[in-house]
């Protein structure tokens, strides 16, 4: 690699490191603010929120910027050590404390005059505050020979370690407040809520086979509905994901511009669709096809297309390219290469992923009833909504839950065994 490329890399990493530092200081500042708000602020508007008064924003932004600049200019920060950067003088010795102060002050000048300084400088990649103080920020791996090897320090003495402790501490504290962890309630309500466990664990299977007249459905029929919802969703999803996955595979689409566009679009759509849960899709499809099991199936199927599509295309990308080359060299067409070279290699893992997905879909189908109705979920939520009206509502819920556990466990076991066989 040429010298200028190396220097550009170091510069890029410095920028990354700086923003990482800024982000982590910002995170700490927000955490502290949250704690302050939570414990001392009396104004209801700010209580327990990650908010500051409007006039506070400049202070927060500039303050964290300064903190990042200090840690960066002094050469001690989590970003610098993450990216393997080290502050040294021109003769590769650690700079003195005075030099570091100078760097911090000069940094402001350098930032303000950054474009001008770079433009007029002959040393294009050397920043002003580096030049003024005679120090440089180097990537350790590029100057292995010049930089003296320091004995490793204990983790709590490195800036990475210290910063990590602070970050984790702030995270846990804020996290406990944000998620309203309240052990007191939890313990004090053990006795008041223990009836729930008792009733859940003594299920009433009265409507296991004979339908509940109010609901007009038995647990067995709900079970069958759930399994078939998942089956249909998986089958339809797999059928659509199969052809799409080849379009979403880097090695199949090649490096032509059109191929790149198709690849990016397909993968992008997969990712967006995948990131929205089936339950959310359920609300969307309930608008489209009306509230009911079909909406649930559509939601599950839609999500399955994306999830399986991604898994499939990763499999296609991971195949052994040798046979493809060999088949192409016999004078075969492109799609023949796919059919004879790619498909046999990926079929077992495709099947395994599909089975696995069916498993997941069964689990999902038990709750898709919240937006789509049908299946075990419908029965469970029905009884749950009758708590207080029916004397044995929780016992009925318990029966449904037991059924779910058994069904999921059996299907899990079967699909696990089959997957073991085919892979």
């Amino acid at each position: 690699m040429s010298k200028s490329v190396e220097e550009m890399q170091a510069l890029r990493f410095r920028v990354f490191a700086f923003f990482l530092d800024w982000a982590s200081w910002g995170y700490i500042a927000y955490g502290i603010m949250y704690l302050l708000n939570s414990y001392w602020y009396t104004n209801i508007h700010y209580y327990g929120r990650l908010s500051v008064p409007t006039w506070g924003w400049p202070i927060v932004i500039l303050g964290t910027l300064e903190l990042a600049a200090i840690s960066h200019a002094f050469g001690h920060s989590i970003g610098l050590s993450m990216f393997g950067l080290r502050l040294v003088t021109d003769s590769f010795t650690p700079p003195s404390l005075g030099k570091r102060w100078q760097r911090y002050l000069a940094w402001h000048v350098a930032v303000l005059s950054f474009p001008v300084a770079i433009w007029f400088s002959t040393q294009k990649s050397r920043l002003l505050h580096d030049r003024l103080t005679g120090t440089r920020m180097v990537l350790v791996k590029q100057y292995k020979d010049e930089i003296p090897i320091l004995p490793p320090r204990a983790w709590y003495k490195t800036n990475r370690g210290e910063m990590s402790v602070v970050l984790i501490g702030v995270t846990l504290w804020v996290g406990a407040l944000v998620t309203q962890i309240d052990l007191h309630t939890m313990i004090s309500r053990v006795s008041t809520s223990s009836y729930l466990w008792k009733e859940l664990l003594s299920p009433h299977f009265t409507h296991f086979i004979t339908p509940d007249p109010a609901l007009q459905q038995s647990i067995v029929s709900g079970m069958i509905e759930t399994i078939f919802m998942a089956l249909l969703a998986t089958a339809v999803g797999a059928a659509f994901a199969l052809p799409l996955s080849f379009l979403g595979a880097r090695n199949i689409m090649g490096f032509s511009p059109l191929g790149w566009v198709v690849f990016t679009v397909v993968r992008g759509v997969f990712n967006v669709v995948r990131s929205i849960q089936p339950l959310l899709w359920g609300t969307v499809f309930a608008v489209w096809v009306g509230f009911g099991m079909f909406a649930g199936v559509m939601a599950l199927g839609f999500h399955t297309v994306a999830a399986l599509g991604k898994l499939y295309s990763e499999q296609v990308e991971g195949i052994d390219p040798g046979p493809l080359e060999a088949i192409a060299a016999t004078g075969a067409r492109r799609w023949q290469v796919v059919l004879y070279g790619v498909v046999p290699q990926v079929i077992p893992s495709f099947l395994a992923f599909t089975l696995y997905r069916w498993d997941i879909n069964v689990r999902m189908a038990t709750v898709i009833a919240l937006v789509g109705g049908g299946g075990l979920g419908r029965i469970m939520f029905y009884y749950q909504s009758r708590v207080g009206l029916l004397p044995d509502a929780w016992n009925q819920v318990g029966a449904v839950i037991m059924t779910i556990i058994v069904v999921v466990w059996v299907l899990d076991y079967i699909s696990g065994r089959v997957r073991e066989k085919i892979i």
Partner: protein, 256 residues
């Protein structure tokens, strides 16, 4: 005799890493020859072979096969040229999960009706031909087993049978024996020799060991850093030439 394959000023630069893999290579091959390409690993042997049937696009230069410009061929024309050039690989490149017969039949893909091949149907003659070729390389009893159940030597013979299905006029082998042990190496090389002598197929093979090259080759081409450093008869390689090709520290290693 007319040259079957002519390579003119072939140059290949890999864009990733800016590597000059082939540097202005020119040579020609007469029909029926057994040309051996030798050189250290990284000298560009695989690149050269793959440029001939354009599995890799050459950066510059021309390749003529039977007078047809391979480098200018496109689409269907390239496929027709490729099916006349069989290829055998170091790592066998079989589809591991397909049966041996399916792997062998894949060699016919350039010939058969594409619609029939889409549903995995091959003409009866092709299946018979596949079984015959498997018999020829001595593994007809394994026709229906999965390819990954075979040993390395057997897999390479499946590779040869696949190349035979193309009824090739030129057979290229990229280090066909370097993943095999010495005894199996010779049996595989014998099949190549047999094809060369009985069917009159031109063979270009890259080899790692000079002893194998001496034993089987009618002509030798030595590459070093992407350049031709020697071209001539096997007997012409003496100690000095050997040092030049393989470097000063190299020692002779014999494969018996």
């Amino acid at each position: 005799m007319a040259d079957q394959l002519v390579v003119e000023h072939l140059t290949k630069i890999y864009e990733r890493g800016d590597i000059l893999a082939l540097d202005d290579i020119s040579f020609s091959v007469v029909k029926g020859e057994f040309l051996v390409v030798i050189g250290l690993s990284g000298s560009g042997k695989s690149t050269l072979l793959r440029c001939i049937n354009r599995l890799i696009e050459p950066t510059q230069g021309k390749v003529y096969f039977d007078g047809v410009d391979v480098t200018a061929a496109s689409g269907g024309e390239l496929r027709r040229l490729r099916r006349k050039m069989g290829m055998i690989y170091q790592q066998f490149n079989l589809v591991k999960r397909s049966s041996v017969l399916t792997n062998v039949l894949a060699g016919r893909l350039g010939y058969v009706n594409p619609w029939m091949s889409a549903v995995h149907r091959f003409p009866r003659e092709d299946i018979e031909m596949g079984l015959k070729n498997l018999e020829r390389v001595g593994i007809s009893d394994q026709a229906y087993t999965r390819a990954d159940n075979l040993s390395g030597g057997q897999q390479q013979r499946v590779g040869i049978a696949r190349a035979l299905m193309q009824e090739p006029e030129l057979l290229m082998a990229d280090e066909p024996v370097s993943a095999l042990d010495p005894a199996t190496s010779h049996s595989v090389m014998k099949y190549l020799e047999q094809m060369n002598q009985e069917d009159g197929v031109t063979v270009i093979t890259s080899l790692h060991f000079l002893s194998l090259a001496r034993r089987y080759g009618t002509r030798i081409l030595a590459l070093k850093d992407g350049k031709i450093v020697f071209e001539g008869l096997p007997s012409e390689i003496d100690e000095a030439r050997f040092k030049e090709i393989y470097g000063e520290e190299a020692e002779h290693v014999e494969v018996r």
